[in-house]
Amino acid sequence: METPQTSKADILAGDNADDREAAPAALAADSTSRRAVLKHRRGSRWMHWINFPLLTIMIWSGLRIYWADRQGQIGIGIGAWHWFDLFPDSVNDALGLERRLARGLAFHLTFGWLFAINGALYALYTLFTKEWRNLVPRKGWLRDSIGVVLHDLYLRKNAPEHEGSYNAAQRLTYSIILVSGLFSLLTGFAIYKPTQLSLLTSAFGGYEAARLIHFWITIGFMAFFVIHILQVARAGFGNFWSMVTGYQLEPRGGSATSLANLSDEPVDPDQALDSDPTTKEVSHV
């Protein structure tokens, strides 16, 4: 077990010089001036924004491929009760998917490499900078995640305290999304080359099973996107802008959580509830 100090230093070890060269002396001298706190590292920011159009292209071209076999649309319902097909014609028409299978495949199988490369670089980056510590769920993740959700739904007054950039629900969600990205890639290859990569395809339970997993992961991405946008809108511009600049201004008279506050010990949630309410300016994105 490392001490909190060394772990913090390790976390920051891989960061860029630009982020390191700030001058804290000025901060200490002028107590009325606000600080801005590092929330997202440079690599995370770039790869997040590069991933956004890539994943959009992958989903859009993927829907063209899915749409090609209209007899094989996945229906939603229970037993004999058929509710609707994914997706209703109005959705497909709005996206202009019809009869563009060849283009869908061409985009999907070319841009898929860019998506894979960006994802692989991000995985290496989180390992190299130890950013993964800021992302993986921590002790008490289930209780705290539920607490965050209850707070976001206005069913609980205070959000559970957290360290680093992300609260427990964010850590859980982002981790699931990243693992989903890996699995969408793996099931994608299993569908793409079911003969050459037959071992991979059978590991997912066969061609049809791999297709189904690939499809539902995509639905998961779309659901995540909707919630993500709502939460970003809720958290305000300062939070959104920190994904561009890397930094978020602290609220006046308070302090914001930062990557720097990451220790190996989770915060005691009971103690956190009793602490200064100004420290609860946390964003749930």
Binding site: P4, Q5, K8, L12, D19, R20, A22, A23, P24, A25, A26, L27, A28, S33, R34, R35, A36, V37, L38, W49, P53, I65, Y66, A68, D69, Q71, G72, L101, A102, R103, L105, A106, L109, T110, W113, E161, K193, P194, T195, Q196, S198, T201, G206, Y207, E208, R211, W241, V244, T245, Y247, L249, S255, T257, S258, L259, A260, N261, S263, D276, T279
Partner: protein, 271 residues
Amino acid sequence: MSDSSKPDSSKSFADTEFITEEQFKGRSRRSFLLGGAASLAGFAGWRWVQGQPTDNRIPQVLRDGHEFNEELWSKLFREDHLAPTYPKSESSILRVNGRHGIRNEIDMSVWRLRVLGPDGEEWGTHTLDDILALERNEMTIEHKCIEGWSQITTWGGALFSDFAALYDVKQDDFTYVSLRTPTRDQYVDRDEDDRDYYVSVDTPSMFHAQTLLAYDMLGGRLDQAHGAPLRLATPLKYGIKHIKGIGSIQFTDELPDDYWGERGYSWYAHL
């Protein structure tokens, strides 16, 4: 929150975590300009892809993507790797999806399978009996359509490699095999709307141990809709390559025509 949230110059790592409001404003301006430029560059890149001249009906850069993939996966091709096979009990009569070249009945009294050399010279002709005389192979495989559906079915027929052996042709002798539907005079009342169908396949795939000149499905002789009298069947390729009603087979080193390859799909269409 612990004390570590306060700036502490004694901990050098803490320096990276906080910047002044002034610094933040400068950074904010730079980020706005850089982010804006990056967004514009991304949008311009997207327009560039969309505006590319097309190569066989898709933007050139995406055709290059297909060719990159073809290069990669043909290098990873292993002759001795077999596609999974299934119990015959799981197989069923294949869904009929495409009708190009098979709208009209082939006139079996005049149909001959023609074999052509690289310059189009005729090497020989065959009746179906010649193919039936070769060793019959049966395989139960999962057929996959490029549109997404799949179905397990059982094919019976001659290995293409056995057929090629009649002409002493080996896998490395040629790069491609071109297969086409019969000439118009070999149909019964050929409908003018019916199109010729033609595919070309790399020789390593054609000479694979699971590539058949198929004449039966689930033990029953093929009907017109499924490609009588002879069709291609292989788990290495999407159904678009499984030409029905073969009229001619040509060995060549020059990339031959390919019906769907010309219509925006990957020529390789490999599984």
